[in-house]
């Protein structure tokens, strides 16, 4: 290129609007004629718990000694109506993930890991497997719109029931399990032909709206003789009203799932563009419970993008009673492990980015129904890793709670928090760091 040409042509400049990802997606759509389907939750940058900080104790607050003084972590869920509420040793549970989306060994590992540290795991679309029940001391049985695998025997075997209204990755959307994963066993449990693309309904077949839900919950209580708690799970969309309506419908506990929460498979456009980030959904949910006089009586379990004990502590400080993890639990089992990089490369991806969980080719043996791949996951070893991870998260949350002078992680409160950005201050309804200003608080 001559010196003159260099001045005639401006340097190549890529569009901020049509960035590499947008262009690649247009090309992919043009080539295939189908929207992008993938697993996991929102990948875009969202306001999240990293934007919050704890203040810690000082002259006006008295800290607890990290290695000696007790900081309790136990949670009781479902004492509102259930004769046998759930007693968790830690405020971190395992979110609902189906056998079908996950392999048998992965479900077993989740049960082993959760049980080792005294917490619960949750079924998913497609019903309860004996392996899962056998290895989970506390198992929450989901009642989903599809009712795949739903049966009263399993309902009575459960330690709690979760009526799933929605999911953070796709509030208003049903599930998908593509043909690659509809093996004979999965198809048999769901009463579907082998190998078809399976759609899970987005609406429950036999109820619509909160008045019906109240009767549905009563039916489940009657069937289980009022013994076990009944949760209601909603995706974060209109949390104030959804939580109020769930309380009105008679829920013992509510699971609130933000848009960073994962899914086995759905449209990328849905995952990235529908719902609320987890952090901003908690304050209105807690406000609804407080307005009804039900905060701490109906427990709030928050999920969606929880990664470490700091995230746990921040959720609790904002008013949640517990959290649930899904994606993080799979990573603890071995999902997206860099040791498998060569195999991820063969799949056209890289460790840390693999999200084609619906294709069933997971080299880690977790999001697959291929028996050879599934056999790679040792449920004992993977369960141990999950238990380790859950213990670390709990220790981290305790560390922060003690630093804030709390003898129970539930004693953390919004007053312990500040926000680093104006948007996170407005969303989390805590002051902007260094000020006493909560944007929007006087509106």
């Amino acid at each position: 290129m001559s010196a003159q040409d260099r001045w005639i042509h401006t340097p190549p400049r890529k569009s901020a609007t049509f960035d590499d990802a947008a262009i690649a997606e247009i090309r992919r759509a043009a080539a295939t004629g189908i929207y992008d389907i993938r697993g996991a939750g929102a990948k875009r940058k969202l306001p999240h718990f990293d934007d919050l900080l704890f203040l810690g104790a000082s002259i006006s607050r008295y800290p607890l000694e990290g290695y000696r003084e007790k900081c309790a972590t136990d949670v009781v869920i479902g004492a509102r109506f259930a004769k046998k509420p759930i007693h968790l040793k830690i405020p971190i549970t395992i979110a609902g993930m189906s056998f079908g989306a996950l392999s048998g060994p992965a479900k077993e590992a989740l049960g082993r890991g959760a049980s080792a540290v005294g917490t619960s795991t949750t079924t998913g679309d497609g019903g309860m497997t004996p392996e899962e029940r056998g290895h989970s001391d506390l198992l929450v049985y989901q009642v989903l719109p599809s009712r795949y695998g739903m049966n009263p025997d399993d309902l009575r075997k459960a330690d709690a029931i979760e009526v799933v209204v929605g999911q953070g990755a796709k509030p208003g959307g049903g599930g998908m399990l593509l043909g690659q994963k509809i093996t004979e066993r999965v198809a048999g449990m769901r009463r579907l032909p082998v190998g078809i693309d399976q759609r899970s309904a987005c609406r429950h077949p036999d109820w619509t709206g909160p008045d019906d839900l109240e009767i549905k919950i009563q039916e489940l209580r009657e069937i289980t003789d009022w013994q076990i708690p009944i949760y209601v799970k909603v995706g974060a969309s209109r949390p104030y009203y959804d939580i109020a309506l769930a309380v009105k419908s008679g829920a013992d506990a509510i699971v609130l799932d933000g848009m960073q929460g994962g899914t086995a498979a759905t449209q990328d456009v849905f995952i990235e563009n529908v719902g609320l980030p987890t952090m901003c959904a908690i304050p209105p949910a807690v406000k609804a419970l407080q307005d009804l006089g039900m905060h701490r009586k109906v427990q709030l379990i928050v999920s969606g993008g929880i990664r470490n004990g700091a995230d746990v502590a921040k959720c609790l400080a904002l008013g949640a009673d517990a959290v649930a993890i899904g994606t993080a639990a799979l990573i603890a089992l071995g999902d997206n492990d860099p040791a498998l990089e060569a195999e991820y490369q063969k799949l056209g991806t890289t460790a840390g980015a693999y999200d084609d969980w619906h294709e069933g080719r997971d080299p880690a043996g977790i999001t697959t129904q291929d028996p050879l791949l599934a056999a790679r996951l040792d449920p004992v070893v993977a369960g141990r890793k999950l238990a380790n991870y859950l213990s670390v998260m709990t220790l981290e949350a305790q560390t922060i709670a003690r630093a804030c002078g709390k003898s129970h992680v539930h004693n953390l409160e919004p007053e312990d928090l500040v926000a680093l950005t104006m948007e996170s201050a407005a969303m989390a309804r805590v002051p902007l760091a260094g000020t006493n200003w909560i944007p929007g608080s006087n509106i």
């Binding site: 189908i34 309902l155 009463r191 309904a201 039916e219």
Partner: protein, 228 residues
């Protein structure tokens, strides 16, 4: 024969007593009076007991039933026999929406009409409606047979999987991927048995048309996008 008056006895006591039945009981035939439209009567049963309910019932009567034979002498509210696994539920009047929803087995007989979404998500249950059914009946129906002696409303069998639908009267419209299929001899044999089991007399299987899945939506294809 135990007799329970729901005007004076709480529903919880009835359901609790029915759940407590064991093999050595003689209480195998129960009557229930004054249901007064209460919801969740006789739900979650798992015992071969006969229950006669004298009057109208609310939502989810006989929900998730196993083994029991439940007769409702009146009308039934939403979700009668929802998710039934086995046994038999008989409604002598009309049934509201979502009758037999997601049922896995057993037989549901409705002497009158059933409202919208009859047999929605059905997974193996057989349903015989002697009157007509409302719109979106057998929506996403996976397995089992829905027999309608009257007419079917709009979008019958929308997004149907492998359930079989038999309609004697008119069908307002078929839903996505639901088509009329030939009524072969083997279907007539199955249909005759179901009609007999439901106590239908004087009706020939030849009077019905059969509907089921075209199976075009089993795998996503862009050329079918208009159906989604």
């Amino acid at each position: 024969m135990p007799s329970v008056d729901l005007a004076s006895s709480p529903l919880r006591e009835l359901n609790s007593a029915l759940h407590a039945l064991t093999d050595n009981t003689n209480a195998t035939h129960w009557t229930v009076s004054n249901p007064r439209g209460q919801h969740n009567i006789a739900v979650g049963l798992d015992f071969p007991v006969e229950i006669e309910i004298d009057g109208h019932v609310g939502y989810y009567c006989a929900g998730m039933n196993k083994q029991a034979r439940v007769t409702v002498r009146g009308n039934a509210g939403q979700g009668i026999a929802e998710n039934m696994m086995s046994g038999r539920v008989h409604v002598t009047g009309d049934a509201s929406q979502a009758a037999g929803a997601s049922g896995n087995g057993g037989l549901l007989v409705i002497d009158g009409n059933a409202s919208a979404r009859c047999g929605i998500s059905m997974k193996g249950i057989d349903i015989v409606v002697k009157g007509s059914v409302g719109h979106l009946s057998a929506f996403m129906a996976q397995a089992g047979k829905l027999v309608v002696l009257g007419d079917a409303g709009e979008a019958l069998g929308d997004s149907i999987y492998e359930a079989q639908l038999f309609v004697r009267g008119t069908v307002a419209s078929l839903g996505a991927d639901c088509v009329e299929k030939p009524l072969k001899d083997e279907h007539k044999v199955e249909l005759k048995k179901l009609l007999d089991d439901a106590g239908v007399e004087g009706v020939s299987p030849d009077e019905f048309k059969r509907y089921g899945s075209a199976r075009k939506l089993y795998h996503f294809h862009i050329d079918n996008v208009g159906s989604y």
